[in-house]
Amino acid sequence: MTLTAAPPEAGATHGRRAPRRRWRHAGTVAVFLLPSLVPLTLYTLVPMVASLWTSLHEWDLITEMRWVGLGNYVELIGDPGTRAAFGHTLYFIAGYLPLVYLGGLGLALLLNRAMAGRSLLRGIYFLPVITSWVVVALMWKWLLNPASGIVNWALGLVGVSGPGWWTDPAWAMPSVILASAWKDLGFVMIILLAGLQAIPKEYQEAAMVDGASAVRRFRHITLPLLSPSSFFVVVISLINGFQMFDQVKIMTGGGPGGATQVVVSQIYDLTFRYGRAGAASALSWLLFALVLLVTIVQIRGQKRWVTYG
């Protein structure tokens, strides 16, 4: 036990001491670990390495691979299609994140007080979260149908001529954003509601005694103490936002005219439509690098606005 870096109490578990026999448990360790390590190696680690290797080649999935070094990466960085895909992804995030965060915060604040039917309401708001993306995308595609959809019919009742939604390049991304925010609103609400309920009541009461207004209490007590939950929502939403695919694939297929082609749909098309597995792999690593960078920046930057206390 003395040779390992394991915590001292780990040895105490077994009562006996067997110095220098580091592999004493080898058999037991193998039995506990291999059921997860073997599939993890086969279906995650090997594909990871294979993906890196593929990204350095030109490959149509059929004929021989051809080594191109960093060629795919160089090409992608200069490629207008790639830039457009990243642009569309950022457009999605810029619309989706404020909508889902502010909506979720509003709902959480409303539901953070005793009220009749609160748990039923919570259950209803959470319903879209457990519904699959494909179902949500199909339901919204039908609701937002330009000619026969009920949303445009309702807009017509109040004298507004509804847009072409997912058939119109200018409205396609807003349609996707709307459906996405609707689906994830309940998730954000639940996270923020849990955060709100973890704030000790004494803080609010003390501030009230001092005569602080509701707005000031919100700005100086609620928001700062809610910041860890907000941080979690932002990190998760960004990670998911960068990788979004299902809703676009179903609602618009990346169209019309490529207006909603996001990074993952570009990866999919590069592989299965254009037979460019190498470029697709390179693009997936660029996406990974970007997500990693954004996440690291957020974790570094959290000191500025996240209060743990």
Binding site: T4, A5, A6, A12, T13, H14, R22, H25, V31, F32, P35, V38, P39, L42, Y43, T44, L45, V46, P47, M48, S51, T54, L107, L110, L121, R122, G123, Y125, F126, L127, P128, S132, V134, V135, L138, M139, W140, N145, A147, S148, W153, F187, I190, A194, S229, F245, D246, V264, I267, Y268, T271, F272, A277, S281, S284, L287, F288, V291, L292, T295
Partner: protein
């Protein structure tokens, strides 16, 4: 804000959340020739189940529902077993390189699915596993997220319990089965919920690896249906309704636990 206003706001919100589901149901029982009518008909005259019939003629839909159910259950169960065992090893069994190996697990946690799907597809093709149940299940057998989550839970189990069991002559397998597992049941339930939801809703991987209707899961089946009936929304909505109902029934029973699990995930 006034009480009435508060109720009005959350009530309106609830209508917005529920309406798309209700509309899907209404559309699914509207006669085909009335579906595209403007203005829409809220009380469809002579509601019909034709759309459901058409759906079942086009795709082996019951089989697809069953596929989703058993694949979801199997993938959840496999992940629970493999992750709990690995978590026990990382939390309780000292071995050389433990920290480094755990770091490898954590690293895979950050791998986005898009990075993995292309090489995974190629790997499956190499072993002639494209279009099989095995290919659907394979990437979900192990879960780094599960190992991480359950390791945290096991570390919170006081070691005195293990030691008492050791004094009674128990080995690691018995400690794992009879001491640790019962004590981490809440974490196991949380992980099971996340695992089942992920499998039930998964679309990208089935889309890539499955071609035949008899191996499809619900999201892929629905997407395929939409591809064939682009304008027949009654049929597409019938499929959506059928695929929502099972998870809805489960949700009604497990609602408290599902919401508590999600709420906890943000409180770290």
């Amino acid at each position: 804000m006034g009480r009435a206003l508060r109720y009005l706001a959350v009530g309106l919100g609830a209508v917005v959340m529920l309406f798309p589901f209700a509309w899907a149901l209404i559309t699914s029982i509207t006669p085909s020739d009335a579906v595209l009518a403007v203005p829409p008909d809220f009380t469809p005259e002579g509601a019909s189940l034709d759309a459901y019939g058409k759906l079942l003629e086009t795709l082996p839909f019951w089989r697809i529902v069953a596929n989703s159910a058993w694949i979801g259950a199997a993938s959840t169960l496999l992940q629970l077993v493999t992750s709990a065992m690995a978590a026990y090893a990382f939390a309780r069994l000292p071995f050389p390189g433990r920290g480094a190996l755990f770091a490898v697990y954590l690293a895979t946690l950050m791998m986005p699915l898009p990075v993995l799907v292309v090489p995974l597809f190629i790997e499956m093709r190499m072993f002639n596993l494209v279009d099989t149940y095995f290919a659907l299940l394979a990437p979900t057998i192990a879960s780094a997220f599960g190992v991480f989550l359950l390791r945290q839970a096991i570390r919170q189990v006081p070691r005195e319990f293990d030691e008492a069991a050791v004094l009674d002559g128990a080995g690691h397998f018995r400690i794992f089965l009879y001491v640790v597992l019962p004590l981490i049941r809440p974490a196991l339930a949380t992980f099971a919920i996340f695992g089942f939801m992920a499998s039930w809703n998964s679309y990208l991987w089935p889309l890539i690896i499955i071609k035949s209707p008899e191996f499809m899961t619900l999201p892929l089946g629905l997407a395929t249906l939409h591809g064939q009936f682009t304008t027949e929304w009654d049929v597409v909505m019938a499929g959506s309704v059928i695929s929502v109902v099972p998870i809805l029934v489960l949700y009604v029973f497990a609602q408290k636990h599902v919401i508590a699990s999600v709420a906890q995930s943000g409180l770290k």
